[in-house]
């Protein structure tokens, strides 16, 4: 049941995961497992966790995210958390959550920019 709600999509060499809005603990744990298996299978260099629909980021969820970031790092990948809602950011900070070495971005688009560390040849001027 938990596995159905998680989609892991490979886009070039980045994995994209959309986290469901209100996942139970089982789904959160399943997500971690799926991500690591897919990282290995596709030799991805990075992971984007899209949390833009997530309404509740509690300590269990946050701990699993931090663990996943560390595990992905051990496998040679970088993780970007994308799209945290303002209300979730305020709440997470007051709760006392820290997200360790996770990179963050305002949305998925910018998350891909963060992972894309190749030098730009054309210099199209839209990145700063």
């Amino acid at each position: 049941m938990a596995d159905d709600t998680i989609s892991v999509i490979k886009l070039h060499n980045v994995l994209m995961v959309t986290v469901p809005p209100d996942p139970d603990d089982e789904t959160v744990s399943a997500l971690q497992e799926r991500v690591l298996q897919t990282m290995e299978r596709y030799e991805a260099k990075g992971l984007v966790l899209d949390i833009s629909t997530v309404e509740t980021l509690d300590s269990f969820f946050a701990r699993t995210v931090v663990e996943t970031v560390q595990m992905v790092a051990l496998m040679g990948g970088r993780t970007v958390l994308a799209g945290m809602r303002p209300s979730v950011a305020i709440t997470a900070t007051q709760l006392g959550l820290t997200l360790g070495s996770a990179l963050t971005a305002l949305d998925v688009d910018r998350a891909l920019d963060v992972l894309d560390d190749r030098p730009r040849l054309g210099g199209d001027g839209d990145d700063q």
């Binding site: 139970d24 603990d25 509740t56 980021l57 303002p86 709440t91």
Partner: protein, 135 residues
């Protein structure tokens, strides 16, 4: 959605944590809390429901609308017949846990809500009462 201003939900399994979150979200929205306060209340409820399940195995969450003069608020009570908390002062310290969590549940819930009260007796159980007032 619920139109009643009081009710309760059993906490017997891990999936009841999600059920409790949904009820609390609906209640908080119905009472007119803003989106950030709704998120604060639901997150606190998630932490406290998980504590009931982790430490006591089962319990109950009660909710009701409370008023103080003109001000409306939401009260949530988390009650279990688990092992109880031997040292409430330590349990309120950030990072203190006996179940391998982050130790953020109680102190975090206190910061997210306006009021938090703990009654606990070792071997008998624990009751945590939290309130949030609509600003």
């Amino acid at each position: 959605m619920t139109n009643e201003d009081a009710g309760e939900v059993r906490i017997d399994s891990e999936s009841d944590i999600v059920a409790a979150r949904k009820i609390v979200r609906d209640m908080a929205i119905a009472l007119g809390f803003g989106v950030t306060d709704v998120t604060r209340i639901v997150t606190a409820a998630s932490e406290l429901t998980r504590n009931v399940f982790r430490y006591a195995g089962s319990g109950i969450m009660r909710w009701r609308t409370v008023t103080a003069g003109e001000v409306i608020g939401l009260e949530l009570v988390f009650e279990d017949h688990g092992p109880g908390i031997p040292d409430i002062t330590r349990a309120m310290e950030v990072g203190y846990t006996t179940k391998g969590g982050l130790g953020l549940g109680l102190p975090g819930a206190k910061r997210l809500m306006d009021e938090l009260e703990i009654e606990s007796e070792v071997g008998k159980g624990t009751r945590v009462t939290v309130k949030k007032w609509r600003k």
